[in-house]
């Protein structure tokens, strides 16, 4: 067969290929000077180093490992240099708040000010941002109100710089991972080049965002996992343990920044299962050995990350000990540990009495306070009466006054206590309407009844009467503030006051629906507690409120986060980004500026890079299919070819799995999605591209005869490099800022570059 013949030649070719590895860097140098001026001296030094290496090449012996090591070190330095210079260039521009910096910068400030807040992501990323800000002299006073606010004299470079430095590690990690997986520095350099010159990766690394931190941990975890896989014949040595533990630490880091970190945990988990499966099949190992392997991994990849993750939260709760904007999301017990919260070292009347002013909190986690406001239910939604909702923030509209069935005027002397089974009327303090329910269906939960505010100055009708019940109480028991769980049973219809947890549409200000449920089961949704209690006629008693233990806090904050996450539903008018948009680079995100006069930064991948990635995915599948069918059919393949298909299936398979795990789950998510969610997947896709294209070029001799196939390989590599560099030259203003007219208007610097109508720059 023809293939068998060319194998010896192949080896020599491969040999030459190895030696010529450093050549691409020259062209990097020449084409790239405009951007990396400040690094000129350094890169010139590198160039010299590269030259000496390549001239050394022919004289040095060709040893499999060693030959990769020497040029790869130089290449690594080069990748690092380029990566840092592209990410740190124009870091402080624009000098105003861009996009989500308004959230994450603000949250960094909260850490510096030790103010408690609520966010849907775990705390590590924001803690690190806060730390970076603190170290660089930022004092936490900038309010980060909205995108576009000028930073003026604030030290914001520290936070941006921290993110950019972490972002600069991504190409380096990609280089090392691909090198480890494919043993080919061409593949590694392709992957690194794709990432270095991708405008999207640059933009997303340059601002105060969680993504660079998240991606840093994801890539670090993958790298240490791949390194660990290489240690398989040196079990339980120091380096084996080192990479294993490092994997675990990075997993904890990834999960600690965003829940997207779960995907890389699954990737490492699957890899570990495969690894254990291999060990199980190794008959030279006794069951005891296998158990040791298993326990070592369980410790380093499950237990250790868990401990670290919990520690992160512990630090979070210790640092944030002052009351802040996030209080209302949490239970009364939780709030009592925050300095400045009115429940902290609270003192208030112990038992609920008639005439008291109270706030009533739903017991469901993140249930909110019973709330009403002047707005009415819109037409077509039940009766057109005043809205009653549950609201997560503290507000004077959460105040209600507890009245007896009839009398409105407060009597002199000691007020009577409210007891289990008493009939009460709840009057909204601000609007003087009564809590009311009737046989209209609720706005969202159609099985339930609507709850409204009705009447004026306390005069209403029989539908305003509620029977108060203490859960687990008997007739005559008083209602303890904070500690009693109470239910409000509607007298006329027999239903129970209920918070469904569903978010009302715009007319309800996106607050939470409150209904009256005819199903009387005792659930937290139908149970409430009295949180604030104001009654000047009763003596205040300092309440030693039940302080929650750490595990309860941890659980509660997670449930609140998950609920917050799934509550991020797309708004009506907002154009929702769909997962299928992402790999084709269909539409970017405006980081800064909208119209011609502003300084605009637009998060969009370098289209050439992204489309190469997309094509490579298809190419990868084709190549794997061809290779595996050839193997399955038993065609005799040369040694080189078999190695290639192994790299494709093993290394490529791992990267493909990573891509799928970081991309496919978004199709099932109901929450609002953004373009930047694709970036972790894009890293995997780029690494896969490096590996695939390298093998494609090297397999050119399947079709062409030796000298031509070699030329083909060379031309292909150069063409690839050139197209990436040139497209970067074209699109670099996307990351480094554009001013002047938009691309479709005359006189724009970006004229002719709006290749897709959906791009908005």
């Amino acid at each position: 067969m023809a293939k068998a013949e060319c194998t010896p030649k192949w080896n020599t070719l491969a040999l030459r290929n190895r030696k010529t590895c450093p050549t691409p860097e020259k062209s990097f140098q020449t084409t790239f000077t405009p951007v990396s001026k400040d690094k000129n001296s350094q890169t010139a030094g590198l160039l010299a180093g590269g030259d000496t290496q390549s001239s050394n090449g022919p004289s040095g012996q060709f040893v499999a490992r060693g030959s990769i090591e020497s040029p790869s070190k130089v290449l690594l330095m080069l990748v690092a240099g380029l990566s840092f210079s592209t990410r740190l260039y124009k870091l402080t521009e624009p000098p105003h708040v861009c996009w989500d910096e308004t959230h994450f910068g603000k949250m960094g400030s909260y850490y510096i000010n030790r103010t408690f807040f609520f966010d849907v992501h775990p705390p590590l990323g924001k803690m690190l941002i806060g730390l970076a800000g603190y170290m660089s002299g930022y004092n936490g006073t900038f309010p980060f109100i909205k995108p576009g606010d000028k930073y003026e004299n604030q030290n914001y470079w520290g936070m941006r710089g921290f993110c950019a430095v972490l972002g600069s590690f991504l190409p380096i990690f990609a280089y090392l991972i691909v090198l480890e997986l494919s043993n080919s520095c061409t593949a590694a350099i392709i992957a690194a080049t794709l990432l270095i010159f991708d405008t999207g990766c640059i933009t997303i690394s340059q601002y105060i965002l969680l993504d660079p931190i998240l991606m840093f941990f994801i890539m670090a975890a993958v790298l240490s996992m791949v390194k660990f896989n290489q240690q398989r014949y040196r079990s339980f040595t120091a380096s084996w343990w080192f990479w294993l533990v490092l994997t675990g630490i990075n997993l904890a880091g990834a999960l600690g920044v965003k829940f997207v970190g779960l995907f890389v945990i699954v990737l490492v988990g699957l890899n570990t299962i495969g690894d254990l499966w291999r060990l199980l099949g190794d008959m030279s190992l006794s069951l005891v050995d296998i158990a040791k392997h298993f326990l070592a991994r369980a410790f380093a990849l499950i237990l250790l990350p868990l401990i670290l993750y919990v520690t992160i939260f512990a630090v979070h709760f210790v640092v944030l000990n002052k009351s802040g904007p996030g209080d209302g999301f949490f239970s009364s017990a939780f709030q009592s540990r925050l300095i400045g919260n009115n429940l902290h070292n609270a003192s208030m009347p112990e038992y609920l009495a008639f005439g008291s002013t109270v706030t009533i909190k739903n017991l469901r986690i993140a249930g909110g306070y019973l709330h009403s406001h002047w707005h009415l239910y819109p037409e077509g939604v039940g009766a057109r009466q005043q809205q009653v909702t549950a609201y997560l923030h503290k507000d004077y509209n959460n105040l209600w006054v507890v009245h007896r069935q009839q009398d409105n005027n407060s009597q002199s002397g000691n007020p009577d206590l409210v007891r289990h089974g008493d009939i009460v009327r709840l009057e909204h303090k601000e609007t003087t309407r009564n809590l009311h329910s009737h046989l209209h269906e609720a706005p969202l939960t159609k099985k339930h009844f609507q709850v409204t505010g009705y009447g004026i100055n306390g005069t209403g009708d029989a539908n305003d009467l509620w029977q108060m019940e203490v859960c687990g109480g008997r007739k005559g028991d008083p209602v303890k503030v904070l500690r009693s769980k109470v239910r409000f049973l509607h007298r006329a219809t027999g239903c129970v006051l209920y918070s469904s947890g569903k978010t009302l549409p715009k007319w309800g200000w996106e607050q939470i629906e409150v209904t009256c449920s005819p199903y009387l089961k005792e659930t937290p949704s139908s149970q409430w507690n009295i949180e604030d209690h104001i009654n000047p006629k009763l003596p205040n008693i300092s309440l030693s409120v039940l302080k929650p233990n750490f595990l309860e806090i941890l659980l509660e904050s997670h449930i609140v986060m998950f609920r917050g996450n799934s509550g991020l539903k797309p708004k009506d008018n907002e154009m929702n980004s769909k997962p299928w948009h992402w790999p084709i680079n269909y539409q970017g995100l405006r980081f800064s500026g909208v119209n011609a006069t502003e300084y605009r930064v637009y998060l969009l991948g370098n289209p050439v890079v992204w489309w190469i990635n997309l094509a490579s995915l298809g190419l990868y599948f084709t190549m794997v299919a061809v290779a595996s069918i050839a193997t399955q059919r038993g065609f005799s393949l040369g040694q080189q070819r078999i190695e290639h298909s192994l790299v494709l299936v093993r290394g490529g398979g791992l990267l493909m799995l990573g891509w799928l795990l970081h991309y496919a789950p978004f199709f099932t998510m109901g929450r609002i999605l953004y373009f930047h969610h694709y970036f972790p997947a894009m890293l995997f896709s780029s690494m896969l591209t490096g590996l695939t294209l390298d093998i494609l070029f090297r397999s050119a001799d399947l079709l062409l005869h030796p000298p031509y196939s070699y030329w083909f390989q060379r031309t292909g590599q150069l063409l690839l490099l050139f197209s990436i560099l040139y497209s970067f030259y074209l699109f670099h203003p996307l990351s480094y800022g554009m001013t002047g007219p938009l691309a479709h208007e005359p006189g724009s610097a970006m004229a002719g570059l709006k290749w897709m109508d959906s791009w908005e720059f």
Partner: protein, 721 residues
């Protein structure tokens, strides 16, 4: 000689009849088909499917996003056989059928499918290479499952879906195992797959599972070096043809039948594009038939927005101005309102005017408007020009206001030139065509685009929808596209005559057709994207509740007595199914780990059989259950029934496996047999117990009903006397 030899042979017919199979089939027919027309009232989702059956009978077009049309067509075919004329109002569960409706025939086909599932399960178990006893066990489990019986006996689609799924798997495995006349089975499998996907979208997952199983088998075939390359290629091509091409073609074919049947316009027209509507009899085509095709200068047109959210509407203006100040204090231009109005109205008419000329009539020959031409739009009744300027729109202040221009002499010049941008000119033509062309109107002065924002205006705008001009728009948004729907060439010079002309209906005859493919693509896209209001139902449940059967569904309650029908499964069978699922997974893990260490508990042939069982049954359960966990839909217990069938297939086979390969001692084997018999007996008894809730008769007393409430979470209805 040949003939004489023939005659000397005895004439023999040898027939082997599997009596067990015949027996279970007869029982299945008996349990599913007896008293089929009781209750003589609309039961549960019959009210939903019934309306589509009626529409089929009347050949009126409809869209149903719940599934492809084959299921509905099967139900409609049953109705057709019974002579149903479609004249029944499906408005309420429990409404009595009049005597003219042949209830029996409406329910016959689903019931037949449900009954045939039982023998199919029997045959499928045999194809999985288990014994006749196991096959009988599986058939009995299915036979005595109350929920399957209930679901089969009414005009519902689950039993049809289950039937086709089982048929697809059975015929595929038959193909795989058989040595002769194999390709008939393969084709049958492909056809069933087409039917599975055609009945419900959920069937797609079963189809994919079958493809996975088939590709695993094909992979083995490719690895078989005893077969020549050519032969392998041929076999692969056959499989791809039968299992991929045939189902896809069939799927399209269902839509072809659907669309060629339903050729009359009806209530769902407005969701479709104008071109689609024009292809239906009545409705829009009655209005637009015979309109001139090419829009020319002087044409009188109505412009329909291409979005149908929130409702379809037409560009509209009327003799009322924007309020000088809005409620929030912002000012307006106080010019004439331009809105989008969801009803046909004489104020929807606009006249296309050439900016360079005064006249509002069409030349002879007409001068058609082309892509890129600049026009003015004159409102027919008020003669105001469509205008836009740098004034914030009433509800969407980031966009420009659109108005009918009135000169108040306040240095607000008219900016009433619009450029015609035909966005589908590649597919259609450069010339602006009625109905077919999708047009954007680009404001020449500001290059903003006329857009329906869809926000209802307050009372001053009569709650009509806001129209704006937007500079920063997403490139592909149908809210920017407008189509000419009604069109005629204007002939009147004078305003009075023109008003009379606008009031008169359009006419003239030409028939306009769009191709089947265009219709198919549009319909399919609409079905997948039409979002129905997320509504909660009293009996909706979450998937995790299905496994333990925490919920039930009340299907029907007699109007005066306690007789009622519920979807409640046989609790014992459900338990058995869940148990066997768990047992299989445990056993598989143990086997796998031990085989990996080189300990082969069972011979390779048995292992293959075990794996195949798992692929089909556990895999089938997974693909029919897990997707529901990720779905954002209102779900009901009956969605679990296909998954349940796989469990019933699994249980007896697993038992047989345990009996032959796990238990070595005779006493253990006997104990297992006795246990199995006892379980079967209790399944039968539970079936009997729940029969009154399954068949709706006999009526039970409140006390007896209380006794049947095995779980607190079940909702059983008691009538207060």
């Amino acid at each position: 000689i040949w003939v004489s030899e023939m005659l000397q042979l005895p004439l023999v017919v040898t027939a082997q009849v599997d009596l067990l199979l015949v027996l279970v089939s007869l029982l299945a027919f008996w349990t599913r088909l007896s008293h089929l027309s009781y209750p003589n009232a609309v039961v549960f989702d019959e009210v939903y499917y019934g309306q589509f059956v009626s529409l089929y009978m009347k050949r009126v077009f409809f869209i149903d996003d719940s599934g492809p049309p084959l299921g509905h067509m099967i139900l409609a075919f049953g109705a057709y056989l019974g002579g149903f004329d479609g004249n029944f109002v499906w408005n309420r569960i429990g409404a009595e059928y009049p005597t003219t409706v042949n209830v029996w025939s409406l329910r016959l086909l689903p019931a037949l499918c449900g009954a045939l599932c039982v023998p199919l399960v029997y045959l499928l178990t045999l194809e999985l290479k288990f014994s006749h006893l196991s096959a009988l066990g599986a058939a009995v489990l299915l036979l005595l499952e109350n929920s399957l019986i209930v679901q089969s006996r009414f005009m519902l689609l689950e039993s049809v879906l289950i039937f086709f799924v089982l048929l697809a798997f059975f015929s595929y495995l038959r193909f795989h195992n058989a040595s002769w006349s194999r390709y008939i089975w393969l084709i049958l499998s492909g056809v069933s797959c087409g039917a599975v996907v055609g009945v419900k979208y959920m069937g797609l997952f079963s189809y994919l599972l079958l493809l996975v199983v088939a590709s695993l088998h094909t992979w083995k075939l490719i690895g078989d070096k005893t077969i020549s390359h050519r032969n392998v290629c041929v076999q692969c091509v056959h499989r791809v043809l039968c299992l991929v091409v045939v189902p896809v073609l069939l799927y399209v074919f269902w839509f072809y039948v659907h669309l060629s049947f339903l050729n009359r316009s009806g209530p769902h027209d407005q969701l479709m594009s104008s071109a689609f509507q024009a292809s239906l009899q009545g409705g829009l085509s009655r209005i637009t038939r015979g309109q001139p095709l090419e829009v020319a200068y002087g044409s009188q047109v109505t412009l329909r927005s291409s979005v149908s959210q929130p409702i379809p509407c037409w560009l509209h203006s009327h003799k009322v101005n924007y309020p000088i100040r809005y409620d929030n204090g912002r000012g307006s231009s106080h010019q004439q309102q331009v809105t989008c109005y969801p009803f046909k109205d004489v104020n929807n008419w606009w006249i296309i005017k050439d900016p360079g000329r005064q006249q509002l009539v069409v030349d002879t020959p007409p001068r058609p408007v082309r892509h890129g031409d600049v026009i003015q739009l004159v409102h027919g009744m008020t003669s105001r020009f469509l205008n836009s300027h740098d004034v914030a729109a009433p509800m969407s202040p980031h966009t420009q206001e659109v108005s009918g221009y009135i000169d108040f002499n306040v240095s607000m010049p008219a900016q009433n030139l619009w450029r015609v941008d035909i966005s589908n000119r590649e597919a259609e033509s450069e010339v602006w065509k009625t109905i077919l062309s999708e047009v954007r109107l680009v404001h020449v002065n500001t290059s903003a685009v006329l857009k329906l924002s869809g926000v209802p205006l307050p009372d001053w705008g009569f709650r009509q929808l806001e129209v704006v001009a937007d500079k920063l728009f997403k490139a592909h948004s149908s809210s920017l596209e407008w189509t000419v729907e009604e069109h005629r060439y204007g002939t009147s010079q004078e305003q009075k005559e023109r008003e009379a002309e606008l009031h008169s209906p359009t006419h003239i005859d030409v028939d306009r057709k769009i191709s089947f493919w265009a219709k198919f693509v549009e319909l399919q896209w609409k079905m997948l994207t039409v979002k129905q209001e997320e509504s909660e139902h009293k009996y909706s449940s979450s998937p995790l509740e299905w496994i333990t059967m925490e919920t039930n569904i009340a299907y029907w309650l007699h109007s005066s007595t306690n007789a009622q029908i519920h979807l409640i499964g046989n609790p014992v069978s459900w338990g058995v199914g869940n148990l066997s699922l768990l047992a299989y997974q445990l056993l598989a893990v143990v086997y796998l780990l031990r085989r990996r260490r080189g300990l082969k508990d069972v011979p390779d042939g048995v292992w293959d059989q075990f794996v195949c069982l798992g692929c089909v049954c556990v895999g089938g359960w997974l693909v029919n259950f897990v997707p529901f966990l990720l779905m954002d839909k209102t779900l009901f217990l009956y969605h679990y029934l296909p998954a349940l069938c796989y469990l019933y297939l699994l249980s007896p086979a697993l038992l047989e496996h345990a009996h032959t390969h796990l238990l070595s001692s005779l006493t253990h084997q006997r104990a297992l047999c006795v246990g199995a018999l006892a379980v079967l007996l209790s399944i039968f008894l539970t079936y009997r117990t729940f029969c009154p809730l399954t068949y709706g008769s006999p009526e039970l007393s409140a006390h007896q009903l209380q006794g049947l409430k095995w779980r607190d979470t079940w909702d059983i209805l008691y009538r207060r006397r």
